[in-house]
Symmetry: C2
């Protein structure tokens, strides 16, 4: 990967001065057009060897362009807030919205490469991390982000010279730390790991572009021109038409048995049993939520999905009834806000992830995309199809982080739904809760059923199983949810 960058590349001062003004002007123009179109976001990632001029280049881009619509992020040691969320959370929260440019000074590649260089991980672990990163970058590209990855390179000798120069000058001496010299000693190993990493993660949608960092003029001009060319290409292109991959062949099942129809909707609980059990399980949940291990080391993400009028609200209220109001957030998921629309699909859910000791209850969730958006055609087939994999990655990140993730589907029969709709229409304030969409969704009952079964098959995993809840009887449903939630917490905390 570094063959070209190992050569000596120099641009003399006169020629640099001649070229820069025009380049700046064109970059600014492209940046304004990007903002006006607001069709896609731009993410510029810098990686490379120590001393190759990453920070100089980042500063320069901010100087050349309008810094007001550039968000620059350096990812140093993770903060408390960041440590209490999955590893990728800090990158998700920093993603630029459509129309803007994000500059990441080091990113998700930094830690995996360093861990391998320092012998803290194996080749197989690195490859698994690379696979995760590839899925993440592909998601960004699928969501329309223009990802530009610059790798600033120095030869071993160039690096040594550079560190010496910095060290000699009292103004820059502070920048050369013991760490830099340590990496310099590890140069060969670093370059070998970086070569493997950058080759594997150079995809057509987000290739690494290797730039020699030894001569600042050459480096600046090359990065600037490459950025300009990539911006122009996307700005001038027509919006992409839908991709042409083959669609997921749906299984043509030879019978009509499915996970929803297999539920026994006749299950119920008497009023008296319900009262008794409600008290018992709410108390158990309240105790668990005060468990020291819960407060210090984990959190709960609960997803409530179900047919319209299946009683999600009632269930959620029975859960929150057991919780300290400071420790939970109830997140109703409807159409995304403008800000959320300017980001990759899952961004709005990542931003809601709880800190340790807290509950987030999603009233509807990221499954929107494979349910209503799929059935109603609100998003392209290719988009809901890739959503299964993206959702799996998201949930895997939660589970790997130690979050307790529970997912409930509240199931009622078509007849019971009609009864509840009619009852709501008659009852005073409740008729406000029947929207035209509810009747529309109801007409597509079979299509929804199909989508729900696909969803369960493709997203019920060992670490993040779906709990299908027979909700024809509200009492039964509420107790089943409370029990399952307690069980999941206990499994995570060890018996309380």
């Amino acid at each position: 990967m570094f063959d070209s960058a190992n050569l000596e590349h120099v641009v003399d001062r006169a020629s640099y001065r001649r070229h820069v003004p025009r380049l700046r002007e064109e970059l600014l123009e492209a940046q304004y057009q990007l903002g006006r179109q607001a069709r896609f976001s731009v993410l510029i990632v810098f990686g490379g060897v120590e001393g190759a001029g990453k920070s100089e280049t980042v500063n320069l881009l901010n100087e050349w362009m309008d810094p007001r619509s550039i968000q620059t992020h350096a990812f140093l040691e993770p903060s408390d807030e960041e440590r209490e969320r999955p590893r990728m959370w800090r990158f998700w929260r920093a993603l630029p919205p459509k129309g803007r440019i994000g500059i990441f000074f080091g990113a998700w590649h930094t830690q995996p490469i360093l861990d391998r260089v320092l012998g803290r991980s194996t080749a197989a672990v690195l490859d698994a991390e690379i696979a995760e990163i590839l899925r993440f970058e592909r998601m960004l590209a699928d969501e329309g982000t223009l990802v530009l990855k610059f790798w600033l390179h120095l030869t071993r000798e160039q690096q040594r010279t550079r560190l010496r120069t910095l060290e000699k000058d009292p103004k820059t001496r502070w920048r050369v730390t013991g760490l830099d010299w340590k990496y310099s000693r590890l140069y060969d190993r670093f370059v070998r790991v970086a070569e493997h990493y950058s080759r594997r993660t150079s995809t057509p949608e987000a290739p690494w572009m290797v730039v020699s960092g030894a001569d600042a003029h050459y480096r600046n001009l090359t990065v600037g021109r490459t950025l300009l060319a990539a911006l122009r290409e996307r700005l001038d292109a027509k919006p992409p038409s839908p991709a042409v991959r083959r669609s997921t062949a749906p299984l043509s099942s030879a019978d009509s048995v499915n996970v929803l129809r297999a539920l026994d909707l006749g299950r119920k609980l008497s009023e008296r049993d319900y009262r008794r059990q409600l008290e018992k399980w709410q108390e158990r949940l309240a105790l668990l939520s005060r468990h020291s291990k819960f407060r210090n080391a984990t959190s709960v993400v609960a997803v409530f999905e179900g047919s319209d009028a299946a009683g999600k609200g009632g269930v959620i209220r029975r859960v929150t009834g057991a919780l300290d109001a400071r420790l939970y957030a109830n997140v109703p998921v409807a159409a995304p806000t403008d800000e959320e629309r300017a980001q990759p699909y899952l961004w709005r859910f990542w931003r809601q992830l709880p800190r340790h000791g807290c509950f987030v209850l999603f009233d509807r969730s990221w499954y929107r995309r494979v349910l209503v958006e799929r059935v109603e055609g609100f998003c392209a087939e290719k988009d809901w199809m890739r959503a299964y994999a993206e959702i799996n990655d998201f949930e895997q990140a939660l589970v790997d982080h130690g979050t307790v993730l529970v997912k409930f589907w509240l199931a009622i029969s078509k007849e019971e739904q009609l009864r509840r709709f009619r009852k709501r229409q008659k009852m005073g304030f409740k008729h406000l809760r029947i929207a035209p969409e509810d009747w529309r969704n109801r007409r597509r009952w079979d299509a929804y059923e199909h989508a729900v079964c696909d969803m369960v098959d493709r997203s019920s995993t060992h670490g993040a199983p779906w709990t299908l809840v027979e909700a024809e009887d509200k009492h039964f449903a509420r107790i089943k949810v409370l029990k399952a939630l307690c069980a999941a917490l206990e499994a995570r905390l060890g018996r309380a």
Copy 2:
């Protein structure tokens, strides 16, 4: 993944008999159309738990359709021939050509899953294997293959019942081996690993389709109908238009320094030195080729690329001059044959891989795609762009397998090329060796130079580096190649 398949699915005999004749007819019709169009190939992969009816289903598909254009492969213990090539070689050689159907009874998924179940590999190793498999399956899809993956599932109880039934019947008792019962005991672990594997490898382009195998009628109808629907979808679709991913942003380098221009083409060798050194290095190579470790444990794949008239033929003759004619193959790479055109791009190179103790010398190679095909526009941009990654995977497979891989680029100046062209035109038989393409290529010298530098940057790896050869002087070039080849062999064998 297995939720739906864990339910009881049954199709009664009468309804089965009613549906099958029509299904068979439609499958046959689709199969003939596939053959007539010969636009894409179909690969059906079966996986699943023991006893779920994989072999019955495979037999049935052969019975229902015309077995003459179906190639069925079971992958049992690898043969000697297979063991002497990289792991994926057995699958490459079995790929169906366009217009035909291949059925793989177990495939690349089998070993990684079993290794993990039996504790012979770690989770990280499995994930690295999955990443490799994902790249392979994506390559197949990019090359137009319709990949259908059926996972035949049984619940733990269904599996037990099934093995007992087979065991009771003297006609089927032989099929139940100790191994089957062993896997039955490992059922839970197997299912957990398989769930992880199948979820990760369920991509939009090649999803797993999970089918309950407990009831043969249900299983057969479901597989048959799903296959038919997928075939029809592809047969009726218009040929896909080029994908719309963003192109690799080429680096806009701010100077004109590159790896080719950095070569010192003035290097030469006198006639006398050449004779002496030729003898020395040919003798060394001859000895190395008879080394016992070479004969039993490795092989050489050598790639010769270079500008037209750079002297590849002469270099290759100096290499083969040192070798036993039974042990090398010289493979000139020109336009692919019909048979090769009906396969994924790299197939024609996989088929040439040598057994242990042998040399294969490629006169031009798989780099065609990122050189002449890129520059002359013989393939779409998206195709040559993904070729870098596919080539890296191919070469990595060789290197991982222990093959000695050497790659030479023979570089001459534009002026020297002209001299040689003119000389050839004047000299009797040699003028046959100047084709109109040679002049055409020459006119695009700069574009080729750019393509070569990109190629070197993106495919010169630690395990498979490019050797750039200053070939202005033929003597110097020949000796440099012989030396590099000997050095690579010695590094692999330990000093001879």
